[in-house]
């Protein structure tokens, strides 16, 4: 049975238009033009237990709105959703004890106190027993390597350290479902990788169902087997990341380095579309099914090949392509 089930879910926001200027502001006191924005339009998907699904899309596509509906913060305009058999926006404590939401841009930790105080408070709020608390705490502290920062005021921590503590606060009650909204936003490359590795390990060990949104393609590439792409409130793609690449990126990239003097562009362009060129290293784009043959041809030609590498297209290019196709 699906853990998360979404049927025809829609959300329309109301907002007001205001022309620039003082006069318009005064008019606005009496009459305002009401506008509607359909943030999410009749989306459908379901997620099985233990899946780690990436939720992709440009800013304002409706990712966060969907997560907010699934965690019960927002009430949908129409449609249904069930998470662990509960309707999220009823906000039943029984449901709330089984999931967690981590928002990269909003913290739940008490800013002026050491993170430990927030953990203890969450222990009480989620009614975690002393033994479970100790066990979960030890496990998380070990995995995230944060033993030394537990007693430091949250405001004094770096963004990466704070994010780790946010994750601990969210996971202390062992949620069955975890919503992560941009968990790596603003982090440096090393911190991003740490968080990523942790999410991967945690999902594998605990079979927690995770729905993650991110702007960083690395996150998605590393973590998610399945992706859901949402654009302008509609689902553009739902399926394997690998087949997504196959479908939208029908070519591979050959990175070739040459010895000595190198090569001339004219010698190499007959093999495929040249993307980057210096005499000693080039990047070629070739149709997926021909990649192997082209590589062999280049190796067996009299060009001074030093090394050759066959790679997938960058997934951000793929996603960009999907988004621009939609328009």
């Amino acid at each position: 049975m699906a853990i998360i089930e979404v049927k025809n879910l829609s959300k329309t926001y109301e907002y007001y238009k205001k022309q620039p200027g003082l006069w318009a502001s005064m008019k606005g006191l009496f009459h305002r033009e009401k506008l509607y924005k359909e943030a999410v339009k009749e989306i459908n998907f379901s997620i099985e237990e233990g899946e780690l699904v990436g939720f992709l899309g440009p800013n304002g596509a409706g990712k966060t709105t969907t997560l907010k509906m699934l965690s019960g913060i927002l009430y949908p305009t129409s449609g249904e959703a069930k998470v662990l058999g509960h309707i999220p926006w009823k906000r039943e404590p029984k449901y709330q004890k089984q999931f967690a939401l981590v928002m990269g841009q909003k913290n739940q930790l008490w800013w002026d106190l050491p993170a430990m105080e927030s953990f203890i408070l969450n222990k009480e709020i989620y009614e975690v027993s002393d033994t479970d608390f100790k066990k979960n705490m030890d496990e998380l502290v070990e995995l995230l390597d944060i033993k030394d920062i537990l007693d430091i005021q949250v405001r004094k921590l770096s963004l990466g350290q704070r994010m780790k503590c946010e994750l601990v606060a969210a996971l202390l009650h062992k949620p069955k479902v975890l919503f992560l909204d941009e968990p790596t936003i603003g982090l440096d490359v090393v911190a991003q990788k740490n968080i990523r590795d942790f999410i991967k390990d945690y999902n594998r060990k605990n079979k927690t169902t995770i729905l993650l949104t991110s702007h960083y393609m690395e996150d998605v590439k590393e973590l998610c087997k399945r992706v859901i792409i949402i654009e302008e409130g509609k689902i553009g793609y739902d399926g394997d990341l690998a087949s997504l690449i196959e479908k939208y990126a029908p070519y591979k990239v050959l990175k070739i380095t040459f010895e000595g003097e190198g090569v001339k562009e004219a010698d190499i362009s007959k093999f495929g579309e040249v993307h980057q060129f210096t005499p000693n290293s080039i990047t070629l784009r070739v149709p997926r099914e021909k990649a192997k043959n082209v590589a062999r041809d280049i190796l067996s030609s009299n060009l001074p090949v030093d090394d050759i590498l066959i790679d997938e297209v960058d997934i951000s290019d793929v996603v960009r392509k999907i988004f621009s196709n939609g328009k």
């Binding site: 939401l101 928002m103 739940q108 002026d112 106190l113 105080e117 009480e124």
Partner: protein
């Protein structure tokens, strides 16, 4: 309700990190009292009795009204509630198995604890400064009644703060409303001077609002100007107001949440 107890202790700890801010409040408290006592001392130079208040009674009134009002203030708690709503912190609180109204009540109570202790110390200093001029302590039962009234006063103030804070569901600015109500309620509660100095019309109107029961009536009880039974009646009306305000909180919360859920803010 262990969780709410932890929220209170967390908030007290948080207050300790802002020691300077607490001291700043304490300074403001005293400044207000100094201003009031100076005015009345000058006024009474040439007059013996004003509307039934002798100079000593008036100083006693002002000192105790000051003391009671700072013991029961919420120190602009409406700002905290508004901030939760505007910054979206409310979202983080809503997804947890807890009641937001109980959560804010716990935060508010933890938040005032240290300031409360400071006011007690300040009170002791002020009382010893004015000793000889102040009305002496009433009997034990009156003190007990007074304590109950002041607890009710604190919660009336807190409930009002929460309601005003909830205005943030609809507007980005609550400062105007907050400021107006603050001045109005201080005036109508008799914190600056006995309400009986006002024209009869104001006096009558004030009894239809909760404010007069929060400071004026308790001080009257302390000064022995009203009987114990009248004091009990005052407490009963305070409790009635608490019930009314709580119902208003619940209604405004429901409406506000509906808006929050639909807009996301």
């Amino acid at each position: 309700m262990k969780k709410y107890w932890h929220i209170i202790t967390n908030e007290i700890q948080r207050q300790f990190t802002y020691r300077a801010s607490i001291a700043a409040y304490a300074f403001g408290n005293i400044a207000e009292l100094v201003a009031l006592t100076v005015i009345w001392t000058i006024v009474y130079r040439n007059i013996d009795v004003i509307k039934g208040y002798s100079a000593h009674e008036m100083i006693s009134y002002v000192v105790f009204a000051w003391f009671f009002s700072f013991l029961t203030t919420t120190y602009s708690f409406e700002q905290n509630v508004a901030r939760d709503i505007h910054l979206g912190t409310l979202s983080n609180l809503l997804v947890k198995p807890q009641s937001y109204i109980r959560y804010v009540m716990a935060v508010a109570t933890g938040r005032i604890t240290i300031a409360f202790l400071i006011v007690l110390v300040q009170g002791a200093i002020v009382f010893s400064f004015f000793r000889g001029q102040l009305t002496s302590l009433p009997d034990f039962f009156t003190i007990l009644l007074l304590l109950c009234m002041l607890i009710a006063t604190y919660f009336i103030n807190l409930f009002l703060s929460i309601i005003i804070g909830f205005i943030a569901f609809w507007t980005m600015e609550i400062n105007g409303t907050y400021y107006s109500l603050k001045v109005f309620s201080k005036f109508m509660s008799g914190t600056f001077f006995p309400i009986s100095l006002l024209p009869a019309f104001f006096m009558k109107a004030s009894f239809f609002l909760p404010f007069v029961y929060t400071i004026y009536i308790p001080v009257q009880l302390y000064l022995g100007k009203i009987s114990f039974v009248e004091g009990l009646r005052g407490l009963a009306i305070e409790i009635l107001w608490l019930v009314v305000l709580y119902v208003i909180i619940k209604i405004v919360w429901k409406l506000g949440l509906k808006k929050y859920e639909s807009v996301g803010i």
